[in-house]
């Protein structure tokens, strides 16, 4: 938890946003304001099972927003609605002032180009080389000549430290390298919002920390908004500007990491302790760091 004082970074001009289930959600944000994506009263059901039961939260522009919660709490389902891989049953998803919750597939095309997504298992096209994977979005959506595509692809791969793998197939890469290539592919069309689905799952601790660094550096260098789904608490407190705790289909607690150190929300505390994080120890560490 070396980076427990991340709250200080988070506090740069941003007020912690907190609301509890049962209270009315806040109004839609200003499109040019600090809120990039606003989710309001989102509901998603599969048959009789209601996974999301009125989720409301804000994704802050240019920050690392982390969604935490136990396995099966609906984190991935939530993010699949936000990027509209699925259509929610109710609620609103406001991206840059436009509600995308009910848009049809054709209208979603330009909206989706604002997003880049890095999947848990990277989801690289296994029949294509690293170069072709990263070039794919450019070939699909731009009329760039191949020379320009090559420049952009090599630039992104070099920025992420995987330029040596350009001719390899995804199956020939390690987990960490696959993740980097996936980030390069997600970044190549210069999206505004980058979503990471459990980026450190299945990686060893050292590789996990290097992926954390990758996320922080990517946000700083490319100025994107990041949404990270994770239950790796070492990673969460290392990178998060803002944390949303999802529990039983609702956001139970939202705010910068410092909010989680002071909270008396029982389920959030139980989750933190079960994840091996002691808020008391974190508070002491933060106090020592400040002193």
């Amino acid at each position: 938890m070396a980076n427990v004082a991340n709250g200080a970074r988070t506090a740069r001009g941003l007020r912690p946003v907190r609301w509890l289930p049962g209270r009315p959600p806040p109004p839609d944000p200003d499109p040019d304001g600090p809120v990039h994506v606003a989710v309001r009263d989102l509901v998603k059901r599969y048959g009789d099972h209601e996974v999301l039961r009125g989720v409301s939260f804000d994704v802050l522009r240019g920050r690392i927003n982390v969604i935490i919660g136990a396995s099966g709490s609906g984190k991935t389902v939530l993010v699949r609605q936000v990027i509209r891989l699925e259509r929610p049953d109710a609620g609103r998803i406001v991206v840059d002032g436009r509600d995308i919750a009910a848009l049809d597939e054709r209208a979603l095309g330009p909206i989706r180009r604002k997003f880049g997504m890095v999947f848990q298992m990277s989801a690289l096209f296994d029949s294509m080389t690293v170069y072709d994977n990263v070039a794919f979005p450019l070939r699909e959506h731009t009329r760039m000549p191949e020379r320009q595509i090559r420049e952009r692809v090599l630039d992104r791969l070099a920025a992420l430290g995987v330029e040596q793998a350009v001719a390899k197939l995804p199956a020939e890469l390690s987990g960490g390298m696959r993740k980097r290539v996936a980030v390069a592919r997600a970044l190549v069309l210069e999206p505004q919002i980058l979503i990471f689905d459990e980026p450190t799952t299945g990686l060893d601790p050292l590789t996990s920390r290097s992926v954390d660094e990758l996320i922080v550096r990517t946000v700083e260098r490319f100025g994107v908004t990041a949404v990270v789904i994770s239950h790796d608490m070492a990673s969460v407190f290392g990178i998060a500007d803002h944390i949303h705790y999802l529990h039983r289909g609702r956001i139970e607690l939202s705010g910068p990491p410092s909010v989680f150190l002071e909270t008396d929300n029982e389920s959030a505390l139980a989750f933190l302790r079960a994840s091996g994080v002691s808020p008391e120890a974190l508070r002491r560490a933060a106090g020592r760091a400040a002193g």
Partner: protein, 278 residues
């Protein structure tokens, strides 16, 4: 609505049993309807996205190469042996009543109308259809299809449309090949091994097999090829459950394709000939 303090009317135990029994009885029909619905939904999406740009001609050609060129050997091999076996059986049977000079006509008609489209389609299904399901299924369970969507590339347009087109175009081409090699196989056996007159054999083929017969076969092949690709794509596109799920999807796709070929064979034959319809 539940109101505290007010006794709720109890459901009669018999009603629950009737509901369960009804659900059980209707389950097979429900499953069939769900399956038909899934295919129809994918077909509608494919038609909608297939007519919209961008037209990825390179992907269409790649899919046609995979279905067509990739199946040349297996279709050629099976076609040759089907023709040879059919030749032996017909000569053996027709000799019993002295009609062996009609063998060329029967071989030609059977190949053009039935054997070539059905066997070519079965080969396409087992080689290319199963590969389509496996490839799309693997892409689905490893999030590659979702990755396409997040990159604003519609997966039906990118993955399904080229495969449907390839099935529609290349199965008739393979059927023509099957006709040729089947006839060659039958000629080899009947003329070279069993001593039929080569002139009579070929003359009967020319005399009895006309463009309508070939057209009937090609129409069937196009219907079969499109259906095989649709079934293969439907099962792969919506596969779930990891590697085992992909295996199950492939298995279902191959079985359903084989059944569909035989059922559609009857339907198309009945429609084309105007006979056998209820």
């Amino acid at each position: 609505m539940y109101i505290a303090g007010v006794t709720q009317p109890a459901t009669h135990p018999g009603i629950g049993a009737v509901r369960r029994a009804t659900r059980l009885v209707l389950a097979p029909a429900n499953a069939v309807l769900a399956e038909v619905g899934a295919h129809a939904s994918l077909l509608m999406q494919a038609l909608y996205w297939g007519l919209r740009p961008p037209y990825r001609v390179r992907l269409w050609i790649e899919a046609m190469d995979f279905v067509g060129t990739g199946s040349l050997f297996i279709v050629g091999l099976t076609g040759t042996f089907v023709g040879m076996v059919f030749g032996i059986q017909l000569v053996d049977g027709f000799r019993q009543f002295g009609a062996e000079n009609q063998v060329g006509a029967v071989v030609g008609l059977a190949l053009a109308r039935e054997l070539a489209p059905v066997f070519a389609a079965l080969m396409v299904s087992s080689r290319a259809g199963s590969a389509m399901t496996t490839e799309l299924g693997s892409m689905r369970v490893t999030d590659q299809i979702d990755a396409l969507t997040t990159m604003a590339v519609h997966p039906v347009q990118y993955l399904v449309v080229p495969r449907l087109l390839a099935g529609l175009v290349m199965t008739p081409v393979l059927t023509m090949l099957f006709n040729l090699v089947g006839l060659a196989g039958a000629w080899l056996v009947c003329v070279q091994m069993l001593g039929l007159d080569p002139g009579v054999f070929l003359d009967k083929v020319r005399w009895y097999v006309d463009a309508d017969d070939l057209g009937q076969g090609l129409l069937k092949a196009a219907v079969f090829g499109f259906t095989i690709a649709l079934i293969a794509c439907r099962h792969g596109f919506w596969a779930s459950g990891g590697a085992a799920g992909v295996g199950r999807a492939t298995n279902r796709a191959v079985v359903q394709s084989a059944v569909a070929i035989l059922v559609l064979d009857y339907v198309v034959t009945s429609l084309v000939t105007g006979q056998g319809a209820p």
